[in-house]
Symmetry: C2
Subunit: 318 residues, 2 copies
Amino acid sequence: MGRMKITVLSGGVGGARFLRGLRDAVTADDEVTAVVNVGDDMWLTGLRITPDLDSIMYTLAGENDEERGWGRVGESERVSAELRAYGVGWPWFTLGDLDIGTHLTRTHLLREGLPLSEATARITSRWPLGVRLIPATDDEVETHVITDGGPMHFQEWWTRHRASIPALSFEYRGVAASTPAPGVLDAIAEADVVIVAPSNPVVSIGPILAIPGIREALASTPARVVGISPIIAGAVVRGMADACLAAIGVSTSADAVAVHYGARSRGGVLDGWLVDESDAAAAAAIEAAGIRAQVVPLWMRDAESSAALGRDALAAAR
Amino acid sequence: MGRMKITVLSGGVGGARFLRGLRDAVTADDEVTAVVNVGDDMWLTGLRITPDLDSIMYTLAGENDEERGWGRVGESERVSAELRAYGVGWPWFTLGDLDIGTHLTRTHLLREGLPLSEATARITSRWPLGVRLIPATDDEVETHVITDGGPMHFQEWWTRHRASIPALSFEYRGVAASTPAPGVLDAIAEADVVIVAPSNPVVSIGPILAIPGIREALASTPARVVGISPIIAGAVVRGMADACLAAIGVSTSADAVAVHYGARSRGGVLDGWLVDESDAAAAAAIEAAGIRAQVVPLWMRDAESSAALGRDALAAAR
């Protein structure tokens, strides 16, 4: 087959691993575009932080800390110690020095008037990532968590409170007035394959789908839209996505998440859904919802299994 | 004698050393206020940098790098290496990581709407400095150097070109519309003693004197105004002040600088002027200009000689 255009809707760490595997699975002729969640983004001590874009960039650049699971390898925290000594910033959200280099660059470019998508293009040009990263929107859309004690930024709920405070609901602040970043709608419309990465459905993929125009683009693209379950054997692969799913009344199961996204033929977003071999029993419910279920190994435990998942996702989408 | 209010007009490194000696020379009852030059300030990679305020703060806090002569002791440059890798910033102006902690804090406070004087008060409260630091103005006044090739920021001329490009003149951009920061005029009007530190007359003290209202306050204060020569034996103690003096037609001598400042009784700013023992011969010319000359050792080679100079300056101003 010839050159292929592949567009992936993606969050941070899980999406980053999937994208790395996918990149290893495609040929140099193929074109992979990641439409990346910005809901985790925030201003902190005057810096614009974009955790999902950075997780993906560091992972694709081979600069991520595999052991810790996030951030840059060989990181240090000298600047953050200074910020704490001056009494500014969030003491529970420590920024690494190398990471601050990225944030300073981004903030500088934004302050110069560049939209986030252009700042991202410039920043990612430092490394041959093999994947084009586009923020889902250039507008500031930030996920807030509504709790009994009031709303808080998603990062505060997730990182400071470890999702231990019950979430009543999630609010994607600013999303109604937002528009997709330049290139996003084209990347979906002109794709041969659209993939929904195994990212958190509520706070990673949810904010992308809530941007006006993106669901419509997914509905009308000639590409097949295939998702990968972030749930394996009734448990989240990483993070605390179950707390997010519970808040929106979706149970932590491979089929419940598929039903939550919905079949494209019935107004949802999915044509197909990849579930792990341990969830083979869920296939019937998924098919009943109008979504083609495919049972494949979902664990990305190394480069080979990650690339294999990339190949499986492409095969399912053809 | 009782409690004394001492106000010092000051630039960076030379001023910092003098202020440290003065602090050691006064009693805990005395109140030392430094009115600090902002002409070296600049925006760099989205950060507001205030070199003179920081040099003084680090020196008084005992956090300065004595050996290198500027910046923080134990400094590293990991963030700047990232900025270079992303292709932003000035490659010839490297910011240390600890220093970036200060700049991030300041920039954050400024972006939150605090004037520089309040941001400075908050930042300096981290250490018991023994000296109150006030920027000469809250407005952005930046020194630019006019050269044959056009104007450039003072930092570019000084740090990148090592003052090797002939300066035709200096421009304190924004100074005409600037006003003294809150506390500056009072610090001069209510002082028992006003001291002009041995800082660069053109780019450290010059921008302070050019702020509308400051010369008038110096003219009318009941305090005596005493300056300390930054020139010893016809040479600058540090830096490349001679290149600055040449541009404004002042020779590099203790008496020429005194004459440049001028006698307060004749519309200038000085009542007295301290020159080094090696410049005793300059005393006659200084006195002829209407300024009381005092010959004392000016070299600040250690804590004791610095404190002695502080005592000499206070004695001369009484």
